[in-house]
Symmetry: C2
Subunit: 132 residues, 2 copies
Amino acid sequence: MARTESEHPTELELELLKVLWDESPLPVREVRARLEADANRPLAHSSVITMLNIMHRKGFLRRRKEGKSFLFSPKVKKESVTGGMMGDLLSRVFDGSPSAMMLNLLETTDIGADELAELRKLITQKAKERKQ
Amino acid sequence: MARTESEHPTELELELLKVLWDESPLPVREVRARLEADANRPLAHSSVITMLNIMHRKGFLRRRKEGKSFLFSPKVKKESVTGGMMGDLLSRVFDGSPSAMMLNLLETTDIGADELAELRKLITQKAKERKQ
DNA sequence: AATAATCATCTAAATAATTAAAAGATGCTT
DNA sequence: AAGCATCTTTTAATTATTTAGATGATTATT
């Protein structure tokens, strides 16, 4: 037997989604150009088409014929993908404990003072909401 | 051309690491048993050996001969792997903004009131540390 | 000593992911 | 109409990941 297709976008798929979340619909040629410019990933035209078609098959993208070429757009929302990937890591790495995940983030990254203040405000807000 | 080996453990590799982080060193047979019990993943003995050897080659594990069988232990710390995977998601999904990542976590998961209070305390603590 | 039990290594397979050339189709230009 | 430009489809090659059988080695048992 072998592995199963991931429900989340892979490395390259995410880069392509980022391009299209930023602006869409776009033709292949444009996606290719932005992938090189934004993600420093210069792929051949045919490689980009292959990936976009795979992503279409997987249900990540929408495809529409415009004249002789296809235009691609995201079918999945950024928030949904992001949330899914976070949830995946949350369950696989932190056994489903959001606070453990947060703690890790606090300890391993460098967050600015102003952002810390902002976060504290958000947490206070969240705590209030829970009370109702 | 093709893809490159990930610097982070894969799905299955992480499950194996979890077993060994929990207790080590362990012989293959024991790893196999716990993988089935803890992760509900019943693999053939030879499959487990194959994976453990691959992980040894990748530098995730240490291997020591004890009598006729091998004992495996983690070579990488849990904190290091966790931090690496978090950092990966942080840069790939949230463009390196920890506060954006935190915000997502706050909004998409359900954190208990007591944990929220704990987190607020930690953030306050962190803010103080930054002042020095 | 012969046999069984237990391990490891070798080999192999199937699917996923990534990259791209070659071939085919279609429309544009001169 | 011929040729060029531009797209898509088809085909293929390579590495990674996951799973496991077959084979061989070593130790324990009868």
